[in-house]
């Protein structure tokens, strides 16, 4: 029990200390109060229109993701497809792709749009493509949250509903049966989609260059935020302070709603362990729909892969493997793909090893607090999800200032980048393990305790074996998230010897692209990452039991 409390305290410190340091540093530099800065938001070029644009994009993206995602979750949850494992993997992969690569994929698609329709640069088209990209990115959240319930509700309940006057039409059954059943999961997933769309950075920056959301505004000011030099002005610190405050408040509210609704989503008792899905063929209307969704998901990935084989030569684009040769040879970047892959895999392994026990203990603590009906369960759940509400700018500044104030040489230590990976991955361990723990029959543990088994014995012989499939799923998710982690690694000091593949791609893309090979090299490195992630998910999917694999 003491270890549990210790881990909860350590996690709280890891999550809270860097932003608090940033906050303090920004307060020292800023002259205006947060409210004064907010009052001037629309009269400064750097921030003009950013608040309304952020909310517009987050809300619109959430609605669009739900419109696309719920029917997909229904078709994956209620019907059994051939190659179901591969299908689920493909629909999950977008969520763990580095957003910088997604942006490149969608930009390639826009070029195809121009070839077909003769236009790709209207502001409206760019905004639509941003919303679609957010839906593409977050679709997995809706599917993973809704699919487990849909796949375990026995057909007999729907048959029974059909006999009743209030359930004799599809619409009525949706309103009376499926709607109430799914609503908590839909709202919980919508909250997370809102959070990710609200904090979106690379997609906004590249797809809609004429607009800025709060994350882009903060990133633009990152260089000078917290730096006490009068010649550099105080505006950057004031802007980051005000923007991060709005972001934090909004996202904590969204996460609180999500947490509350998730804890309520286990109370319907209609789920069974039986696979209730109906077999269906691809040669049907539903099959056509799934095919269309597959095209939607695969298109940007395909565009990315094909771009890696396209090289500019004498004013025309030709098919070539030069980009791949350069990516593996390291001629156009400080590290080659082998070295970056080595770093990526090392950090991903280590992230899994650390975040799994931390996530396990945090889930267990939330679960126990929920059983006691304690309000602390919601607080701890929000604390778990808190890193997702933080801007990479705030984390980066806090880590840098914190390290310099304590022990500067720490900045050069190889394990410091793991911090960013842990902050991003651990919330997802909890999102996978917590629902599985809620479904555990408490009688198993109670009986073992009566027979004299201690906590550790119960953990090793009951909890871990029962939760093994969910632990494996969580591991794969953490591994994939860590492989694709970009934002936090990018803002913390980037030492060449620890360059991961996403950081390598960022390095290449931040150089002027005069050299025709540069963009192909970045796309080739991105394709390696994409294929690794896809293989990983397909490999692990078979461990996910129907309806019990957690909500993600």
């Amino acid at each position: 029990m003491k270890i549990k409390i210790l881990i909860v305290v350590i996690w709280s410190m890891l999550v809270l200390v860097p932003p608090l340091i940033s906050w303090q540093q920004l307060e020292i530099v800023a002259e205006q109060t947060i409210l004064e800065t907010l009052g001037n938001f629309d009269s400064r070029f750097q921030t003009q229109g950013s608040i309304s644009f952020t909310f517009f994009v987050a809300i619109s993206s959430t609605i669009l993701t739900m419109i696309i995602g719920i029917p997909l979750a229904w078709n994956l949850g209620r019907y059994k497809w051939r190659y179901h494992i591969i299908l689920r993997s493909i629909f999950t992969v977008p969520f763990v792709m580095p957003s910088i690569l997604v942006a490149m994929g969608f930009l390639s698609l826009l070029d195809w749009f121009e070839v077909i329709f003769g236009d790709n640069n209207s502001q409206d088209l760019r905004i639509y493509s941003l919303l679609l990209a957010h839906a593409w990115f977050n679709l997995a959240l809706v599917v993973r949250f809704c699919e487990p319930i849909l796949s375990t509700i026995e057909e007999s309940y729907e048959d029974a509903a059909r006999l009743l006057p209030s359930g004799n039409t599809k619409l009525k059954r949706f309103g009376r049966l499926w709607g109430p059943l799914l609503l908590p999961n839909i709202i919980a997933s919508a909250s997370l989609v809102f959070v990710f769309s609200f904090t979106s950075f690379a997609l906004v920056k590249f797809l809609v260059p004429a607009k800025r959301n709060l994350e882009v505004v903060m990133s633009n000011q990152a260089e000078w935020a917290g730096v006490e030099i009068p010649a550099l002005g105080r505006a950057p610190s004031e802007i980051v302070l005000a923007s991060s405050s709005i972001q934090l408040l909004t996202i904590i509210l969204a996460l609180a709603i999500s947490s509350k609704l998730q804890s309520r989503s286990q109370g319907h008792h209609l789920s069974s362990l039986k696979d209730s899905r109906k077999e269906v063929s691809f040669f049907s209307i539903r099959g056509l729909y799934i095919l269309m969704m597959l095209i939607f998901i695969i298109s940007p990935l395909f565009a990315l892969i094909s771009s890696s084989f396209l090289v500019r030569e004498n004013g025309v684009m030709i098919w070539s493997t030069q980009g791949w040769v350069a990516a593996f040879g390291g001629t156009h970047s400080p590290t080659n793909v082998y070295q970056s892959l080595y770093s990526s895999l090392s950090y991903a392994f280590l992230t899994v090893l650390i975040s799994l026990p931390i996530g396990f203990v945090l889930s267990d603590s939330i679960n126990e607090l929920e059983k006691e009906d304690s309000k602390f369960s919601t607080i701890l759940d929000i604390l778990v999800m808190f890193p997702l509400a933080l801007s990479a700018v705030m984390v980066g500044l806090g880590v840098l200032v914190g390290i310099i104030r304590t022990e500067p040489e720490l900045a050069r230590v190889w394990w410091i980048p793991i911090y960013g990976h842990l902050m991003l991955a651990t919330p997802f361990v909890v999102r996978v393990l917590l629902p599985a723990m809620r479904n555990l029959n408490p009688e198993f543990e109670q009986s073992a305790a009566l027979l004299g088994a201690g906590y550790l014995k119960r953990l090793m012989t009951i909890k871990i074996p029962i939760l093994a499939p969910s632990i494996i799923v969580a591991s794969s998710l953490v591994f994939a998230i860590s492989l694709g982690e970009f934002g936090a690694s990018w803002v913390v000091l980037r030492f060449t010897e620890y360059t991961t593949i996403p950081v390598m791609i960022g390095n290449i893309l931040s150089r002027p692209g005069y050299d025709p090979l540069l963009r192909s090299v970045a796309n080739a490195a991105g394709t390696v990452l994409l294929l690794m992630t896809l293989i990983l998910f397909i490999g692990v999917e078979r461990f996910r039991p129907v309806g019990r694999g957690g909500e993600f």
Binding site: S43, F45, Q46, M104, L107, S108, L110, D111, N121, F206, L207, P209, A210, R212, V216, N220, Q221, E223, W224, V227, I229, P230, A231, L232, G233, A235, P236, N314, G315, G330, T331, P334, Y342, L345, S346, F349, L350, L353, V401, I404, P408, E409, R412, W414, M460, P465, A468, L493, R494, F495, T496, E497, N507, S510, P512, G513, Y514, D515, P516, R519
Partner: protein, 361 residues
């Protein structure tokens, strides 16, 4: 049985992970290490750095920190920590601020080897120039010739309707070339014959003429500019027929385009900024000797004369120029740049930027 399997898997994972990091743990214990903070786009290749290491036994580790401003910001935040030995890429638009913050220690470099242009902003031993290049407006000759538009001879020409929404500039708060060009506009309008208006009026008129203000050079040049390499890339918009870039950018385009480009650097006296990039020894370092050896290598004739292909800039050494291959030099110009000293920039920039913010809203 199952538990044994799980334990075995965990053990294998642990052994694998720690063996992977064994290399990292032993890093830094062999030979001398020189830690440099530079901007992202600094183009020196790993092969050249390895050549330096083979010749001197000094390992070079480069940490990337955004653009020139990012380098300065990192150096300020890590001042006196010894985390970095050298900074590479702080330019003369930031040098006044860096000198005022007392970040540097003197280097032993022989300054007689540099061109007058390289020493024009600062001629001391706290910051040694390694490359130079002027920032000015580039235009797409396809548009100017095709639409029969006169080549601009004054910055005011860009407020005409023929350039409505067709010029892209970089945000001076977020981009180094943008900041350099912005400083040149302050000087240009302070010294022109019109005493009624200053740079804020021009920027305000440009805003009314729908100037495209991009957050980075890459966004302005690659996404918006119709005359650059961006037209071959993903997400190209091409709505701007003029852009703020380097006066030798058309030369680089020609170098990679087999001596073909439609991009032309605009030569307007005083409407360009001579950007000089410096390498500096940072306070708190113990690697004085290694740092001096590296700087001497960087400004040696062998390495510095290659700057036009290593880093797409002019060499800083006397007699160093851009290579002639594929019209690189032919398509590049060295204009009459604005004259703004580094201390004036340091004293005025915060106020100028605040006024710019208000002018372009």
């Amino acid at each position: 049985m199952k538990n044994k399997k799980i334990k075995k898997s965990i053990l294998i994972c642990l052994m694998f992970t720690f063996s992977m990091f064994a290399g990292c743990l032993s890093d830094g214990e062999e030979g001398k290490n020189l830690n440099i903070v530079s901007y992202d786009a600094f183009g020196i290749s790993q092969n050249l750095l390895e050549q330096f290491t083979n010749e001197t036994g000094i390992n070079v580790e480069i940490t990337r920190a955004g653009d020139a401003g990012g380098v300065l910001s990192t150096v300020i935040q890590t001042k006196g920590t010894g985390l970095f030995d050298l900074s590479l890429g702080i330019d003369n638009s930031y040098l006044g601020t860096a000198l005022a913050a007392e970040l540097f220690e003197p280097l032993d470099t022989d300054r007689t080897i540099f061109s007058n242009r390289a020493l024009s902003s600062y001629d001391g031993n706290l910051a040694i120039p390694f490359d130079v290049g002027s920032v000015c407006i580039n235009y797409d000759s396809n548009y100017v010739d095709g639409e029969n538009i006169s080549i601009p001879t004054s910055l005011w020409n860009f407020t005409d309707t023929s350039w409505d929404g067709k010029i892209a500039v970089e945000n001076p708060r977020t981009s180094s070339p943008g900041r350099a060009f912005f400083i040149s506009t302050v000087d240009y309008f302070n010294n022109d014959i019109d005493e009624q208006s200053d740079y804020t009026n021009w920027w305000s008129d440009m805003k009314d003429n729908n100037v495209i203000i991009a957050d980075s050079w890459t966004m302005a040049y690659e996404t918006h500019y119709s005359g650059g390499y961006g037209q071959w890339g993903d997400g190209f918009i091409g709505d701007a027929h003029a852009v703020v870039s380097y006066c030798h950018s058309p030369g680089v385009e020609a170098y990679y385009g087999e001596n073909w480009t439609t991009s032309v650097a605009l030569n307007i006296d005083g409407a360009s900024f001579s950007q000089i990039e410096y390498v500096s020894l940072l306070k708190g370092t113990d690697e004085h000797l290694s740092a001096n050896i590296f700087v001497d290598w960087l400004v040696s004739n062998e390495i510095n004369s290659q700057m036009s292909t290593i880093n797409w800039m002019y060499p800083a050494i006397e007699g160093g120029g851009i290579i002639e291959d594929f019209g690189y030099n032919w398509h590049s110009i060295v204009p009459v740049d604005c004259e703004m000293n580094i201390s004036s920039i340091n004293e005025g920039i915060a106020n100028w930027l605040d006024e710019w913010d208000a002018a372009v809203v």
